[in-house]
Amino acid sequence: MISGIYYPDSGEILVNGEEVSITSPKDAFNYRIGMIHQHFKLVDVFTATENIILGLKDGPEGYDVKKAAQKIREISEQYGFDIDPDKKIYEMSVSEKQTVEIIKVLYRGADILMLDEPTAVLTPQETRKLFAVLRRMKQDGKAVVIITHKLHEVLDISDKVAVLRKGEYIGTVNTAGTNETQLTEMMVGQKVVLNIDRTEPVNPEPRLIVAHLNCMNREGIKVLDDVTFTANSGEILGIAGIAGSGQRELLETIAGLQPMVTGGVQYIVPETGEIEFLRDKTPLQIRELGIRLSFVPEDRLGMGLVATMGTTDNMLLRSYKKGKGLFLNKKEPKELAEKIIKELQVVTPGVNTPVRRLSGGNVQKVLVGREIAAAPRVLMAAYPVRGLDINSSYTIYNLLNKQKEMGVAVIFVGEDLDVLLELCDRIMVIGSGTVTGVVDARTATKEEIGLLMTKEVRTDEQ
């Protein structure tokens, strides 16, 4: 909103003690407010320079890309960035793109910088570099606002912390006079005892064995590097890691949505102990083998559900092929939809209301409900409580626990370490596509996991 994308319904914004109305991003620039979004705002087919000067007015010398590139080199040198101004964005790595975003703001000489989760995509070294830059800007007299959920970063870099909880302002404290416990309390509103019931795994036996998995993304960059682990029945295996360390690719590869370069995935049939190999199989082929593998993807409306369809039709996704003949059977899906709405207390005007019009929590209940209704043997969930309120989150935790008690092998990718530690039995930590460790969730500490998350063995960097 401050950068002008959203309009306020009420209230005012003050800049340097003056009330202002920011109706467009342009206005925000006029007040020297620079925003670095979590999702980069860059034009793929443009060079770094073209992106950086985008939206500016011509100087007295006219439109001069070369001069701009020169200025960018100067800024880079000044702050120690490594960037080629003539490189096209689509040829860049994530951290290079972020560098472009930051230089863009510096180039404009912004006085107020706002960074939205800037470290989520960075390695620790890159993060340290970024913080050094931010400190220098602070010394230049600039105001820096950094939005993050990583408390150690807050304590590391900030002078003052404003805590928001679900859009509501909680309070501001001086960093020097606070600590993680206090901040966490402010963030969650209560002391972080999550009270998730955790039972001991009953008869855990290997269900899914992932061995030496290697995987490239569409740009040909290695995203999974020799990942090996076993998921046991009756157990919740947590996966922790900085966002974008390969969690999504790992789950999608297992589900048959991404090709693996080398490695294998074995599924052990519970009744017979036979082994099925999942490599190079499509989701459909996996299902046809009788393997009940459920997957709650990160992108609920873009991948797990059909946004424009109602709850019933979304239930059909898993079952529409059932039965002979050309026609759909909508009776069972409708009953299932009604059951899920009732049992999980989904708030929806009706079974035919498009799911995109439901709130995030209700969308997730529909998705998780459907995946669990398939009576899975393996249940994979990526960030299943992201964006959900406390009540919905607990509904999800309970569902996962119930599945575990029923002997399902649950794989839970999470970002909140407290939750991981209280919900899971084992936690596997991955960093930059490699497994950096597996810990027992009952005895491990947050610090231990945090260290593993940032333990970097960047072998692929030249």
């Binding site: 589900a255 996704l317 898993r318 759909l328």
Partner: protein
């Protein structure tokens, strides 16, 4: 800096939940009424006639006599079948604007069979070959852009658009090659004496068979889209290809299969036009209906049953406006102007269904 005064905007636009059905319907009705008023004013300016008389003339032109009623029904049926044909592709968000070419090539295949086999094989066999070749030709014309869309994501809008003119020129070639009499530049009525390969009149109505076929296909496609597994796959692919992959739908297969179907029905439309109406083939056999059908399908929100209404409205207007043009010795293109105005209004009215305009609540003064 910061001395510039910023005014709060008077209003801003935001998305809203779709209103209840009668409001949606009402907004569209208002749009049509406004369009008719504007069209009336335009007509008034051009013809200096009482608008009421003008609209009465239109109604007379469209449904004034039994013959006109049938002509209107036939025209509606032909527009409807093409609109229905492109709907599966559009539901998949595949912008098939190549119906014109697919219809033409289907009609062309029909004409070729009529010319080359008429009288040489028994009539039922002839009809079977005609229909099959029309379907095959239309399907091929649909398959080519679909294949490249599936393979390398080639822009289908532009591809199908170009395919129209390939078909037109191809027909131009053969029409001249086979023109009767030689060098006349047209094929003329095919099998005029024997009427081989003509869809027969039933109960004195030359178009009854056409209308029945179109009605059957419309219902079949409505069922196909809403009640079958294929239709469901189309809807999923149209909404999100990622979701389709997630659930194990072969997106490429669905794209190609759906375009084969879309092209095939266009081929049938071509067959009906040639065998059941024109009994000849020219570059104008499709007559722009391939494009008009897109608007018809879109106005009906890709629901085949609503298309009966939208196709009827468009044809009614065109016939009516055509009558005005004839009465007042004006050019027939008058109908296109009226059609354009109506579509502009309905297309524009969608905005008021999907969005709302929020005005500032208070007249808050911003200090200068």
């Amino acid at each position: 800096m910061n001395s510039k005064t910023h005014k709060d905007p008077l209003f801003h636009i935001s998305r809203k939940d779709p209103p209840v059905w009668w409001k949606r319907f009402g907004i569209r009705i208002i749009a049509v009424i406004l369009a008719l008023v504007l069209a009336g004013i335009v007509t008034l300016l051009l013809t200096k006639l009482n608008p009421i008389d003008v609209y009465l003339t239109m109604i007379d032109g469209a449904v004034g006599t039994k013959r006109r009623v049938w002509a209107l029904i036939q025209k509606t049926a032909m527009l409807l079948i093409i609109a229905v044909a492109i709907t599966p592709a559009f539901r998949m968000r595949f912008w098939n604007i190549g119906a014109e070419g697919q219809v033409l090539i289907g009609g062309f295949a029909t004409a070729v069979v009529m010319l080359k086999l008429g009288g040489k094989v028994p009539t039922p066999v002839l009809f079977i070959i005609m229909v099959v070749s029309a379907i095959a030709a239309g399907a091929v014309w649909g398959f080519i852009p679909a294949f490249f869309k599936a393979k390398s994501n080639t822009n289908e809008t532009l591809f199908t658009l170009m395919m129209n003119y390939v078909a037109i020129q191809l027909i131009g070639y053969f029409v001249l090659e086979w023109s009767v009499p030689k060098g006349s530049g047209q094929i003329g009525i095919i099998n005029q004496k024997t009427q081989e390969g003509w869809i027969p009149s039933v109960g004195g109505n030359a178009y009854l068979v056409n209308v029945i076929v179109v009605a059957a296909i419309t219902i079949a496609i409505a069922i196909y889209l809403n009640r079958t597994k294929h239709g469901y796959e189309i809807a999923v692919v149209g909404d999100s290809q990622n979701t389709a992959r997630y659930i194990g739908i072969d997106v490429k297969k669905v794209i190609i299969r759906t375009m084969l179907l879309s092209g095939a029905i266009c081929g049938i439309a071509g067959f009906l036009l040639v065998s059941g109406q024109d009994h000849t083939i020219t570059k104008d056999t499709a007559g722009g209906n391939g494009f008009t059908a897109i608007m018809v399908a879109w106005l009906a929100k890709f629901n085949p049953l609503w298309m009966i209404l939208t196709a009827f409205i468009i044809c009614f207007l065109q016939k009516g406006a055509g009558e005005i043009a004839t009465m007042f010795n004006l050019n027939l293109a008058f109908a296109d102007i009226i059609t354009g105005i109506i579509i502009f209004f309905i297309v524009g009215s969608e905005f008021f269904i999907d969005y709302k305009i929020v005005f500032r609540k208070s007249g808050k003064e911003v200090a200068a």
